[in-house]
Amino acid sequence: MIHSLFLINHSGDIFLEKHWKSVISRSVCDYFFEVKEKAVDPENVPPVLQTPHHYLISIYRGKLFFLSVVQTEVPPLFVIEFLHRVADTFQDYFGECSEGVIKDNLVTVYELLEEMLDNGFPLATESNVLKEMIRPPNILRSVVNTLTGGSNVGDTLPTGQLSNVPWRRAGVKYTNNEAYFDIIEEIDAILDKSGTTVFAEIQGVVEACVRLTGMPDLTLSFMNPRLLDDVSFHPCVRFKRWESERVLSFIPPDGNFTLMTYHVSSQNLVAIPVYVKQSINFFETGSCGRLEITIGPKQNMGKTVEGLMVTIHMPKVVLSANLTATQGNYTYDLTTKVLVWDIGKLNPQKLPNLRGSLSMQAGAPKPEENPSLNIDLKIQQLAISGLKVSRLDMYGEKYKPFKGVKYLTKAGKFQVRT
């Protein structure tokens, strides 16, 4: 299966290598570098490459390439999914997944990789099993380690691997028992020039933060589970129970995890919380253009729209922007040609407006396409699909936990074509 892994930074340095079978020279990465050179954008590097003797499967996460080498047939998604899991694990351990952090924790990272694969086949990928074997670093421990020469290797054996609930650590204890669930919905939409919806859907996720003592067995039920169309679950959820009763019954992992993701069935119309009026014109002569954007509330269920932000990828010929915003600030990055207008809270009385002129490279032809606007927004305490949690019950433990549910609606890939 997975033969070797190379971590490569943005500028093309290999700063970590790990081999699970015999060693493969890092020169194999040259094929990758060649392709990377050609693809201007790192996102455009094909995730699977073929070289004379190996296949290279890579992902791009946090400005890093995780490049794995395989020699024989293997489902590419298997490798890709695993690499993402590795990146997730780093994130989980170190708070972020970046070159600096990995270099700082080289030994821990190496040990993690060692445990996650055996001979190229995934062995322990559950974060709580790993944490039992290799403790994540924290400030206190690194101080202690410095004084005692200790390390992060756990001195216990990975008993979690033997459990049939491998996602939950044994012997969890908390003084405050709490379980929080965040229902986060993202609106993916494409609006066309006139504001009509070309395509819109809601993707939701239930993020949980569960800090409960012992082995609680939770049941989460919804007022309107019929809304949920396509769901995928954390392995802890009992699927049959969902099938028959439409409740989520599970023994939660300890800490933060994604309980489920869902898609709201397409029969339901998607409420679009804001409307955008825009006009972007580039003039044939005079190398300049005009831009005007106004945003107003539409169907926001009486809640305030916050964190409003508009991002525009300008055509290459736009040199600078001279705009005035009635609310919020705008920035224009000259190198990436990205215009960001950070609005903040949407005030329905006084609609935010951004207008002004764009100056273009002299002599260059006017761009043919107007750039599309990407909208970011947040609505607190609202799940736009109308999904509601009806109750959360706990069995198996005696204490009364503190339970909380939070709703949040966000813009996902929300794009307005112009």
């Binding site: 047939e73 999914e81 290797v153 001195d155 023994i251």
Partner: protein, 1171 residues
């Protein structure tokens, strides 16, 4: 040295910071061997070293990295006493020496620090091989942290230092014998990772031993070790296959994924090894960890392709027959070739056999058990299921995967990339499946180009008459994109839509023509190419477009576009005979101002016109050629010279000019516009080979469906011998499942009791003490682990269904009755054997036979559970197996949600010895209890074959669960009451006290005799009680409250009509006489067709007696079965006759003076007999 030691304890982080800054600078240093550093000062230092150390230093090859030496810098400079006076760059040899000293020290902290540095070097790809001897010494280090790092090092460098690596082997061999399963596993893991050929025999031995280890975790590790050994020495293949075979039979989810992975790497061609394990793998699948699921699903796809028939054969037949039957998925829209192919196939199939296709139940099992995995969070699992459905499912069912695949499009872009590739392939074959999700493939300007292009591909594949206008509108947006590669792809896509869908061809062409005026050359070039392709298909029809394009030459300035237009006019000059010369005239006029590429096409046009219409264009052509003759560009001059020679006949012109027409006006084949994903589906979807569209190393071809299905009985699993002999061979099929039910336990039960899973089970078991037999309930329990009861029932049901389907195509709801006949036989058998088994298990001390016996035991008890219902009715048999079963059921239910199940793994120190003990103890107990029950058949609560109903669920009961069954025993305090046996289980952590009932609410006339109060039910205990209810011969429910010292629960008991009677004994004559008196209104007759499984007398008796508490009446004819009973309250006679006729037809007659009871009874019995 002490100062140095202190300094060495600098946190790694600090050192790393220094390192990162400097490592780039020092990059080049890596290539230099430390030994080669021309520094005499260092050499003197070497001499002070031990000779052997020096040797290893030298053998170190390209020396440790420049980055690494920074780490040491600080300590070295400070600790000048170390002897280093050299600069940073000369300290490399020293550094390693330093590490060695640290490794040799007695302090674990020093060793650890050294190991961490070494591992950091390895991680950065620096060479640390010269430290091998120093490191390997520490392999036996007590400190687990050091040890782990040493293992890491060892695995990395053992290959290069084979001799020295051998030193460590004995440590691992010792580890293999460790009582702790985790240590055994880790020893095996490291041992098998050491790639040293010499230890192959040792590894082989270790693997073999571990494969029969009782810890499933160690067995898993053994499975992992198999491919390692295989890659080291392929000669071992045969032996390894044996181990694989053995591990494939393993029944734990932990092992399943790993061993299938080993199977795939070592012997993917040995598909025959899978037969016996097929059903087990299907059933375990959902509980296997996600990575294992992927491997198993992929393997099973291949397996199914070799073993089952193509489920779509019939559909293609139907399609052939009449359009009306065409499937929903719009196969009619498929491309023509597809249709042809299908037709061909259909013919073949039609010839092969006209008989209707019936899906093999095993095939169905696979499809059903993989479906829930579409909900997995792991994209690879979802993809694996999707490809399985695509390759194996009947057309109508494939649709379910679309939603899940569309969901993956929200994931990381790499995942999208792979999924879209597969979707693209699928959409060619099964377009309809993704049509509802068309909009999910709309493209956003922020998508990476490679994703955009793939989405475009999918959209194109999805286009049909109904949605093409939407798609084209969408394409229009894309054409204005700034991403020119994407625009080009869009234009290609429009071209393909135009080719495939006749209606929009003109619209597309017009749209494309407009694009010719685009400023971007790429766009224009692409449009022209596409227009050219479209026109090439039917040039006659589109002469007006060619004319239009000719007119465009006046406006279009893009040279590429002008050139392309000229080519088109030249090529199709016969369609535009009037315009072509005129265009040439204009071009001749502007010739000198044109770009080179246009000039070439002007020459080309001139030549073609000259050949077709020389009268009008002769002079023009010569003019153009003359102009070209003096062009600045030599290509153009060359071309002009060449063409002149070719077309203008002169005396010098050679033979070629004769063929000029053929050369220039040859018919160019119309380019085919088809998806690059066409035909990719001969690769297994989701595979690397599919993605690359080339066979990757190790790829296993997906075989074609067989013409005729191979023998399905190969998948039957043998039943342990002594149970087998009892029952009829022909019912084998059924037996197969049985082992599985109990299976996961059966074998692993005993071994696992050392581990977490069944721990609680065995615990509570011994708690409830009594004569409970261990293995049965235990096995059930651990099998289902965390799942809930319904599941279990469902599963059973499903299994039943499946069985049934074998004979009856349509799915029918469950009845267990069919099994019972056989079961019963077996049961009888069992009783006689009980003692035997007992002694067997006792005497056999070695592991295997032990597990064997316990397996058979558990199987046995399993069958009991199933028989329960029936058992009572078989009059001949005294109610024997009492209490046991009851508890068992209870247990099973508890396991559903029993939290204890999830208890932390037991301390790793559990020794194997313990396991043995507990295991044999359980067997002993079981033996005891069994013989007990045989000896004292008069136990109070006969229950074995009875169906249990739930009174109070564990969750609602806050830990207290109650089940009840109709024991079919006379209720001694009051003969008019139905005895209801209740089983209380306290699975809460605290005791329950004063369990009693209150507040009985009854319909008028009904009476209840309460069960005696249970004063104390301790946590984990089970208790049984019997209550009597006089239902007044009605099926009204009895409602009452169940009270504990703290809580009250409302519960109700509703009897099936069959339980409202008790069996009586009648002779044949009496029966006839009574029947004679109950004619007319009191007689109900129904015709029915017997279920295929119950066409013999025995089965009928089984089923009827299971459905109603009746007894058999002897009967002279073997075509009739008669039963008699009386209702409990009013003692009305109930007579049942089942008369069988040809081919499963039968007639059911019920005579009863209580018409309501009669009607209900007919319904129940009918159901029992037909399903």
């Amino acid at each position: 040295m002490t100062t140095m030691q202190k300094l060495l304890q600098l946190p790694v982080n600090a050192v790393n910071i220094v390192k990162t800054v400097q490592s780039q600078v020092q990059g080049q240093e890596e290539d230099k061997s430390p030994v080669l550093t021309p520094d005499s000062g260092q050499h003197s230092w070497y001499n002070a070293l031990q000779p052997d150390e020096l040797r290893h230093l030298r053998s170190g090859g390209t020396g440790g990295g420049g980055g690494g030496d920074q780490e040491e810098r600080a300590p070295l400079e400070e600790g000048g006493g170390g002897g280093s006076s050299g600069g940073t760059f000369q300290t490399q040899p020293l550094r390693h020496d330093d590490l060695k000293e640290m490794l040799d020290s007695n302090k674990d902290s020093l060793k650890l620090e050294a190991m961490k540095r070494i591992v950091a070097m390895i991680a950065r790809g620096k060479n640390a091989s010269d430290l091998f001897p120093a490191v390997v010494k520490n392999v036996a280090c007590k400190n687990i942290e050091v040890k782990k790092l040493v293992y890491v090092y060892l695995v990395r460098y053992a290959e290069e230092q084979q001799d020295l690596a051998l030193l460590s082997i004995s440590t691992f061999q010792r580890g293999l014998k460790d009582p702790n399963q985790l240590i055994r596993a880790s020893a095996l893991r490291v041992l098998s990772s050491i790639r040293v050929t010499i230890i192959v025999p040792i590894m082989m031995l270790a693997i073999k031993e571990a494969a029969s280890d009782m810890s499933p975790y160690v067995r898993k590790t053994a499975a992992h070790a198999i491919p390692k050994l295989y890659s080291l020495d392929p000669e071992q293949k045969d032996q390894l296959i044996e181990v694989i075979e053995k591990l494939l039979a393993d029944k734990t989810t932990l092992v399943a994924g790993s061993v299938v992975m080993a199977f795939e790497e070592v012997c993917p061609e040995r598909i025959d090894l899978i037969h016996k394990n097929y059903r087990k793998l299907c059933n375990l699948l959902i509980d296997v960890e996600e990575w294992g699921q992927v491997v198993i699903i992929n393997m099973l796809t291949r397996y199914a392709r070799t073993q089952f028939l193509n489920p779509n054969i019939n559909e293609s037949l139907l399609e052939e027959g009449g359009g009306g039957e065409k499937t929903f998925y719009g196969s009619d829209e498929d491309e023509d070739e597809d249709e042809e192919e299908k037709e061909k196939k259909a013919e073949v199939a039609a010839m092969a056999k006209r008989k209707p296709y019936v899906m093999d139940p095993d095939h169905r099992l696979l499809l059903r058990n993989t479906k829930p995995l579409l909900q997995s969070r792991n994209a690879a699992v979802v993809m694996a299921v999707a490809q399985l459905y695509f390759h194996l499912a009947p057309k109508a069912e494939v649709g379910v995967i679309a939603k899940a695949l569309v969901r993956l499009l929200r994931s990381h872009s790499e995942v999208q990339y792979v999924v879209l590739q597969n979707v693209a392939t699928m959409t060619i074959k099964r377009r309809g499946m993704f049509e509802p999700y068309l909009k999910s493939f709309y493209i956003r300007s922020t998508d990476p180009t490679q994703i955009k292009v793939l989405k475009l591909e999918v959209l194109t594949n999805l286009a049909n008459e109904t949605n093409i206008s939407t798609i084209l509108r969408e394409f229009q947006t894309y054409i204005r994109s700034m991403d020119k590669d994407f625009v080009a792809a869009t234009i290609q896509a429009i071209g393909r839509c135009a080719t495939n869908i006749g209606e929009v061809r003109d619209t597309c062409l017009n749209g494309l023509v407009q694009l010719l005026s685009n400023r971007d050359e790429l766009v224009v070039a692409e449009s022209v190419v596409v227009i050219k392709k479209l026109l090439q298909m039917q040039p006659e029809k589109h002469s007006d477009i060619i004319k239009h394009m000719a007119k465009l030459t006046d406006n279009i300035q893009v040279p590429m576009a002008r050139a392309s237009i000229l080519w088109l006019i030249g090529e199709y000059c016969e369609h535009v005979p009037k315009i072509a010369p005129d265009v040439l005239r204009k071009m001749a006029k502007s010739f000198t101002n044109e770009e080179d590429i246009v000039k070439l096409q002007i020459i080309n046009l001139a030549a073609k016109l000259y050949l077709t219409n020389s009268k009008q264009t002769k002079l023009l052509t010569q003019y153009v050629l003359n102009l070209a003759k003096y062009d600045q560009n030599y290509d153009i001059r060359d071309r002009a010279r060449f063409i002149r020679q070719l077309i203008v006949p002169t005396e010098k012109s050679g033979a070629l000019s004769k063929y000029a027409k053929k050369l220039f006006l040859a018919l160019k084949p119309a380019p085919v516009l088809e998806s690059p994903f066409k035909d990719r589906d001969h690769f297994q979807l989701g595979s690397l080979s599919h993605l690359l569209n080339a066979k990757a190393g190790g790829y296993q071809e997906l075989p074609d469906w067989p013409e005729a299905a191979p023998d399905p009985s190969v998948r039957n699993v043998e039943v342990p011998e002594w149970t087998k002999c009892s029952s009829r061979e022909k019912r084998k099929e059924k037996k197969v499942e049985k082992p599985f039910y109990s299976d996961s336990e059966g074998e692993s039960g005993p071994t696992e009791s050392a581990d977490s899973e069944s721990d609680s089970a065995s615990g509570s078991e011994s708690g409830s003490g009594s004569e409970e037999s261990g293995s049965g309930s235990e096995s059930e329990e651990s099998e289902e682990g965390s799942e809930s009861e319904e599941e279990e029932e469902e599963e059973e049901e499903e299994k039943d269904k499946k069985k049934k389907k074998k004979e009856l195509k349509k799915p029918v709801p469950e009845t267990e009755s069919e099994q019972s006949s056989e079961e019963e036989d077996r049961k009888i058998e069992r009783k006689s054997k009980q003692r035997k088994s007992d002694s067997e298990s006792e005497s056999d001390e070695d592991e295997e036979s032990e597990s064997e016996s316990s397996q058979s035991e558990s199987e046995d008890s399993e069958s009991e559970v199933e028989v329960k219902k029936k058992k009572k009715t078989a009059e001949t048999k005294p109610p024997s197996k009492p209490v046991k079963k009851e508890t068992k059921k209870e247990k099973k239910e508890m396991s559903l949600l029993d939290l204890d199940d999830f208890e932390p793994a037991p301390s790793p120190q559990v020794t194997p010895v313990n396991t043995f003990l507990s295991n044999s103890l359980v067997t002993d107990l079981e033996g005891l209890s069994l013989s007990d029950s045989v000896l004292s058949p008069a136990t109070i609560a006969p229950s074995s074959a009875l169906k249990n109903y739930e009174l109070l669920h564990r969750i609602t009961g806050e830990g207290l669960s109650v089940e009840y069954c109709f024991s079919r025993q006379p209720f001694s305090p009051d003969a008019n009451m139905v005895a209801v046996q209740m089983q209380f289980t306290n699975s809460a952590t605290s005791d329950t006290k004063n369990l009693h009932m209150e507040d009985v609410k009854l319909q008028s006339g009904m009476r209840v005799k309460e069960f005696p109060e249970i004063e104390l039910l301790s946590a984990g205990e089970t208790a049984t009680a019997v209550m009597g209810i006089d239902f007044c011969d009605s099926t009204q429910a009895a409602n009452f409250q169940l009270c504990t010292h703290t809580r009250k629960f409302f519960v109700s008991i509703q009897p099936p009509v069959g339980e409202l009677m008790r069996p009586i004994f009648l002779t044949e004559n009496e029966f006839k006489k009574e029947q004679g008196q109950l004619m007319g209104m009191n007689e109900i007759t129904e015709k029915l067709t017997l279920d295929a499984k119950c066409r013999n007398e025995h089965a009928i008796v089984q089923r009827v007696t299971a459905a109603a508490n009746l007894s058999r009446v002897p009967c002279g004819s073997d075509k009739e079965c008669r039963f008699a009973g009386r209702t409990v309250t009013s003692s009305s006679l109930v007579l049942v006759t089942v008369a069988t006729k040809e081919e499963g037809a039968a007639q059911l007659t019920v005579n009863c003076e209580k018409m309501v009871i009669g009607t209900m009874l007919v319904k129940d019995i009918l159901l029992a007999l037909t399903q």
